[in-house]
């Protein structure tokens, strides 16, 4: 299960958080844990360089893209490698929507589109679409090109 996708700005304020199968009372804990993890480790990291951590039986893969930091959390079959795949799809889609690694302003300007992309990528904790070209078409309700 892909437990969470969280996107924060450089100060650690949450821009997007989507949890799946995480009880409401644990969400706050996860949020602060991830933000702290980012603050401790993401300084000076290059765009899209993936970092990895594990906390109990849960895996976390995270990175920086422009002004935003992205965290994905998973367990069981969503181990560090599957999460790396998921975060790769998310960063490609973000770059595609924003045209470049986004500033916080650009990210918020494109907020609606970004939500749609995330909806296409992860659905209730399962990875659904992985190809950015296809995602780009799907958010505009266009069928995929290969069809």
């Amino acid at each position: 299960m892909l437990l969470a996708v969280l996107i924060a700005n450089s100060e650690g304020n949450i821009l997007v958080e989507r949890f799946n199968g995480v009880p409401a009372e644990e969400r706050l804990h996860w949020r602060s844990f991830l933000v702290k993890l980012g603050a401790d480790n993401l300084k000076g990291v290059k765009n899209e360089e993936l970092l990895v951590a594990s906390h109990k039986s849960v895996f976390i893969v995270y990175t920086v893209l422009g002004d935003v930091s992205i965290f994905v959390v998973g367990k069981d079959e969503y181990d560090e490698l599957a999460l790396a795949e998921a975060i790769f799809v998310i960063t490609s889609a973000l770059k595609d929507v924003c045209g470049k690694p986004p500033t916080e302003r650009l990210f918020l300007d494109k907020y609606g589109k970004i939500c749609l992309c995330l909806d296409e990528i992860v659905w209730k904790g399962l990875l659904e679409n992985t190809d950015k070209e296809r995602i780009k078409r799907l958010v505009r309700l266009k069928p995929p090109t290969e069809f």
Partner: protein
């Protein structure tokens, strides 16, 4: 300094103005009224939806009324033909997750979209419907969903399949009807459709071994189009391998070639999945393991942290079962100690600690010392636990490892970390006699400056038990009495008890202890004064140096043989119902209730330092002994010699789960059947096991204790006892049938019907084997123990073991046949070695110490020969060991 910072801030105001600045829920909800306009402004509506999404994604919640209002307004937007807005509407409905009575408003719109000619409407409508639907609606739309699964458009098919995966949790019986369509989708040319279909098909059929096996067989031969699907297939393949048992006659493992082939796949994800699958094969051979280890080794020096992490994590697991297989990677692993990513560095360290040999310990410790200062507590705990196991493996290295532990004990750290260190020192003291004195002193120094009351009291308790048995007990008194002067009341009370223990055990110290205890009579805390008074009286505080009475020692050192929870309940009852009678401790029930469940949840869990009683060789046995002695029928059986681990008598996921624990006494064996009922609609009563011992001639049944009731999800135990020849290691096979009366339970009320039906349930057979009569007890220095045992009752013989799979397999087979403790890490056989020596130690029934030296050799045709040398305190036991080996 302030100037540039301010400037930057000013810039930010211009550039980083947020479109959601000052956003407020109330205002956005007002804005949402535009959804009701007769002339819809699609762009404006999309903006409002974005704002609503922003609020929800920030963790904001809507009240029931707010959510309903927004939901009804959003449904109006189906009138708009604007495609972008429609896509937003789909997302918004999912996010609002309306309740059942509201769903009806949108179902007709969504059903219309589901049959739309526009594919993308269909896909999205499916996803929304499946998110908000319940069982009744699902039967109505089932037909469309089945069509969608085989839709030509991959997005539609995937939407239906992923919906199926979610719906399987809530409506399994409906989704299971789709298996033909899903089967067809598995053959799809679209990569993602195949991936989703494979996942769903496996979930539908996961309890049907044959079907899963067929699926795996066909797909491993066919084409799998995406790395993600390939990973799933590898996982299912290893499940089939696991269930199809060990190697076939030819010695080849089914599907191994497929897994090995995946190691050369172009996607890293697939390579890792295959490598992990291979390393986790049960009874994996060195030949099978090597290619997997080789690819993992390459990834250790990858530039991508995720790959390094994945590689070192997998190797870390392998190191637990096959440390020798990982040693080739040690050089690469050592360079990871300085990896920037602390998770990787910690995994590397702990792997090295598992694979290192005796000569590399000192070098490793040096590297770790530098590393410890800059990692978080949670990582430090992992390292401490690894060091503890290393020390138990190489007891001769205790000096440097104990020093390391005492050094880190002095540094800063939180409670959990300090507790891990203290637990480790305690375990080392217990298992390595030579380490006792230095270990106790380290603990004494620690409590001089310990901020954790819990740890101080636990250490004082431990010190009271172990300190008096050392060569110079008086040196600990200073540390203990300091606590009485300097600490809080809880610690002071503990220190008083510890002082009393020293006084009770060492007569020469008594007068001085009495002086100290008398000073405690002036303490300002009641508990401390009470304890001091009690101990002065029980020890005879009149100053006379007399030997302490046996009862007093029992009072001071004996453990409380009543479960604390039972004690608590009884005391609460006593307080609630005041009575003239004093509280009677014998009235507290001794039966341990939740024990077997906890045990099942933590298989193979190691004894944890201070928390466990430190008397007998098997801490769990102590609990069992209490449990069994509390049952009148078995109370006369005497001292419990050994309890086996649980042996499963049912398969996983059956209606009733039963395992058995074999308790060995001198003249009896007791089988403890731990039963649990996994059916919520049933209550079992009068549960017992009928044991057929016709293949166990020396055993005769003498008693049993049925279980009165076995409700759902509350495990219970039933017992059967047998008599056997005294002190003799009788063996035999037992077949078992579970008998009970079953009553239906109404799930809504939880009440059971009055009438029950008699029923029975066949359990698997199990055996009592020679190893059941041997307790694993290690020695820290085998050579010393061997020499001091002397050659009087030594028996040596040679055996041909015939052709075997490998040397390691032969060594393991003999170790498990004898059930003895391997010493000094000799159970690990280096890969490719032609000969091996293994040292074993144990205590045989009748409390006879036994030491065994095994020398193995293997030739080119895999014929294994073994020389067995036994020394024990009794010649009959030495002979018996040879009989066991000859018979095995």
């Amino acid at each position: 300094m302030a100037q540039p910072f301010l400037k930057k801030d000013d810039d930010r105001d211009d550039e980083e103005y947020s479109p959601f600045l000052g956003i407020e829920k109330g205002a956005v909800l007002q804005d949402a009224r535009v959804f009701n306009d007769p002339q819809l402004d699609a762009r404006r509506c999309s903006q409002v939806i974005t704002k609503l999404l922003y609020l929800l994604n920030q963790g904001e919640t809507f009240t029931k009324i707010e959510a309903t209002e927004v939901f009804f307004s959003v449904t109006k937007l189906f009138q708009s033909k604007d495609i972008g807005l429609r896509r937003m509407v789909y997302l918004m409905i999912k996010e609002l997750s309306p309740c059942a009575d509201e769903v009806i408003i949108v179902t007709s719109s969504l059903m219309k979209d589901m049959n739309s000619r526009t594919d993308m409407y269909r896909a999205n409508a499916i996803r929304v419907l499946c998110r908000i639907t319940d069982g009744t609606l699902l039967t109505q739309i089932e037909r469309y969903l089945k069509q969608a699964i085989v839709d030509k458009n991959p997005v539609v098919a995937s939407a239906a399949l992923v919906s199926g995966i979610h719906l399987l949790q809530t409506n399994p019986e409906i989704v299971k009807r789709w298996s033909n369509e899903v089967q067809e989708a598995v053959q799809s040319r679209a990569a993602l459709v195949q991936f989703h279909a494979l996942a769903l098909l496996h979930q539908i059929r996961q309890n049907d071994r044959l079907a899963v096996s067929k699926l795996v067989t066909s797909l491993t031969k066919g084409t799998v189009r995406s790395p993600l699907a390939q990973c799933l297939l590898i996982r299912y393949t290893s499940q089939v391998i696991r269930e199809s048992g060990v190697n076939t006659q030819s010695g080849d493992r089914p599907f191994y070639d497929y897994l090995e082939g995946c190691l050369r796949h172009k996607a890293e994800m697939v390579i890792f999945e295959a490598a992990r699958a291979i390393t986790e094969l049960s009874g994996v051979t060195t030949r099978e393991l090597t290619p997997a280890i080789t690819v993992l080794q390459l990834f250790l020096s990858s530039s991508k942290p995720v790959l390094r992490f994945a590689a070192v994590r997998t190797l870390n697991k392998v190191a637990m079962s096959h440390p020798m297989a990982v040693t080739n990677c040690n050089i690469d692993m050592e360079s990871l100690i300085s990896d920037q990513n602390r998770s990787i560095a910690t995994l590397a360290i702990t792997t090295l600690l598992k694979t290192g040999n005796e000569s590399s310990v000192d070098r490793l410790m040096k590297q770790i010392t530098n590393f410890m200062s800059d990692i978080a507590d949670e990582f430090k705990i992992v390292v401490v636990e690894a060091i503890r196991s290393l020390c138990l493996k190489f007891p001769l290295k205790y000096r440097s490892l104990m020093n390391f532990l005492s050094n880190i004990l002095r540094e800063e750290g939180g409670f959990e970390y300090k507790k891990a260190i203290v637990d480790s020192i305690v375990i080392l003291i217990r298992d390595i006699p030579d380490a006792k004195e230095s270990g106790l002193l380290h603990l004494c120094e620690f409590i001089e400056d310990c901020e954790f009351t819990y740890l101080s009291t636990q250490i004082l308790h431990f010190l009271g038990n172990e300190g008096p048995k050392t060569s110079d007990p008086s040196k600990y008194i200073r540390y203990i009495y300091n606590r009485v002067i300097l600490e809080n009341a809880t610690v002071r009370a503990s220190a008083v008890s510890t002082l009393a223990k020293f006084g009770a055990m060492i007569d020469s110290l008594k007068p001085r202890i009495f002086i100290l205890l008398r000073r405690c009579l002036f303490d300002n805390d009641d508990e401390v004064r009470d304890r001091a008074t009690l101990y002065l009286n029980t020890l005879g505080g009149d100053g006379s140096v007399v030997e302490t009475d046996k009862d007093v020692k029992e009072f001071l050192f004996g453990s409380l043989d009543i479960p604390l929870t039972n004690m608590e309940t009884s005391l609460k009852n006593y307080i609630q119902n005041p009575s003239e009678e004093p509280f009677e401790i014998n009235s507290v029930p001794r039966e341990v209730k939740s024990q077997p469940l906890a045990e099942k949840k933590a298989p193979g869990k190691k004894p944890t330092g201070l928390g466990t009683p430190l008397t007998g060789p098997t801490p769990v046995g102590d609990t069992y002994e209490r449990l069994l002695s509390s049952i009148p029928e078995f109370a006369s059986f005497g001292k419990l010699f050994k309890s086996s681990g649980p042996v499963e008598l049912t398969e996983a996921e059956t209606e009733y789960a039963v395992n058995v624990i074999k308790h060995i006494f001198d003249r009896h064996v007791v089988f403890q059947y731990n039963c649990s009922n996994t059916i919520p609609e049933q209550l079992l009563e009068n549960v017992f096991v009928i044991v057929d011992a016709s293949e166990a001639e020396e055993f005769s049944e003498v008693g049993s204790k049925p279980l009165k009731t076995l409700p759902y999800d509350t495990p219970g135990q039933t017992f059967v006892a047998f008599e056997k020849p005294e002190g003799f290691p009788s063996v035999g096979k037992f077949s078992n049938v579970l008998r009970f009366a079953v009553k239906e339970v109404d799930p809504s009320t939880g009440e059971a019907e009055d009438d029950g039906v008699e029923d029975e349930y066949q359990l698997e057979d199990f055996e009592v084997v020679a190893a059941d009569y041997m307790v694993k007890v290690g020695v820290s220095n085998f050579r010393n123990a061997w020499e001091s045992m002397g050659p009087d009752f030594e028996r040596i013989d040679e055996y041909g073991l015939g052709p075997r799979e490998s040397l390691a397999e032969s060594v393991n087979a003999v170790i498990s046949l004898l059930g003895m403790q391997p010493c000094e890490g000799t159970e690990v056989v280096p890969s490719n070695s032609r000969s091996h020596s293994c040292l074993l130690s144990g205590v045989y029934i009748g409390n006879v110490k036994v030491l065994v030296r095994l020398s193995f050799g293997i030739d080119a045709s895999k014929e294994v020969a073994m020389k067995l040398a036994v020394r024990s305190e009794d010649e009959n036991v030495s002979d018996a060991i040879h009989v066991i080996v000859a018979g095995g």
